[in-house]
Amino acid sequence: MKLYPRQRHRVLQVVTKLVIPFVLMFGLYVQFHGDYGPGGGFQAGVIFASAFILHGLIFGLQRTRAVLSPTVLRFMMASGVLLYAGTGLVTMLFGGTLLDYDVLAHDPLHGQHWGIFAVELGVGITVTAVMVTLFYGFASKR
């Protein structure tokens, strides 16, 4: 059954528009609340990416690529890893060993807090970018 474009998925489009902000918000919550509850960079990255994938499914790949272009994704993929490894290099510059966050602040606990924050953010950025890239790669080949 072929529907006319205007009638196609109207309900899905409206619901998607309502849902996406909450998905993104939940992704941020999982990212930055991972210290206190279940979650962390990996899960947050997947949740964050799923919002973009949902957008791509409902509104078509063109629109999503206009929001989040493959060039930006490639940049994000590398920058997440660099943020992680860079944190390790900074701890070495401060006189510690690789990824020893104690030296990042005067109080070792604060240092650990900052280190884990940076590292999880790096994981989240890379996972988001890779997941959306996988989706683009599969969905744009036809």
Binding site: R8, P38, I53, Q112, T126, L134, S140
Partner: protein
């Protein structure tokens, strides 16, 4: 009670797995794979592995279902019926499965007192008792993952990055075309019929 729930969930897992094997409709099999992951995630929750359950639910039943659907759009939705059954394949699968089951016999039972986590109490007890003072976060999983084993997690992130690079180099993304930057419709409008609309192709 926990044992009962686990038995029910594992029975579901077995039924879903058999369903995936039997089903000739690939679209249905992909959806069942998502259901399989969700059931597995529920089992992880019952085992108090909330972080693992979270990952399983998000990756297993969320993103990989979508990726399988994307892969399906390259091919047909029906599995090709095979005229003959390969006995060699059956023997191979039975032998491999038997070896795997034989391997699990050496593993300690769930929650067993002789599991590695219990026989090396210096590690588990140290993480449980000292991580609050040494690292801070109340979620000990985060402490272990990001701080005690930060080096391993760096490796995992590199693996994810490598997967992304591999997909980029194998499938490749189309170069940015001018029409990508400026959709010809107003935002909120339905896309043109000839656009690469994912759901539309599935529905037809």
């Amino acid at each position: 009670m926990d044992t009962f729930i686990i038995i029910v969930l594992l029975t579901f897992l077995a039924i879903i797995a058999i369903g995936i094997i039997v089903l000739r409709d690939l679209l249905g099999a992909v959806i069942l794979l998502g259901a399989y992951s969700l059931t597995a995630a529920s089992a992880f929750v019952v085992m108090d592995a909330v972080d693992v359950a979270f990952t399983e639910a998000a990756v297993g039943s969320g993103v990989s279902t979508i990726l399988f659907l994307g892969a399906l759009s390259f091919t047909k939705h029906e599995q090709k019926p095979r005229g003959h059954d390969s006995w060699l394949a059956l023997v191979f699968v039975v032998v491999t499965g038997g070896l795997l089951i034989y391997g699990t016999l050496d593993m300690p039972h769930f929650g067993s007192a002789i599991s590695a986590a219990q026989t090396h109490p210096d590690l588990a007890v140290r993480f449980l008792e000292q991580s609050g003072a040494e690292v801070g976060p109340p979620n000990i999983v985060t402490s272990v993952l990001a701080s005690y084993r930060g080096y391993d997690t760096l490796g995992e992130t590199l693996v994810v990055f490598a997967a992304g690079v591999a997909v980029l180099s194998l499938l490749g993304l189309k170069r940015r075309r001018p029409e990508d930057d400026a959709p010809e419709h107003a935002p909120g409008d339905t896309p043109a019929p000839d656009s690469d609309d994912f759901l539309a192709e599935r529905a037809e």
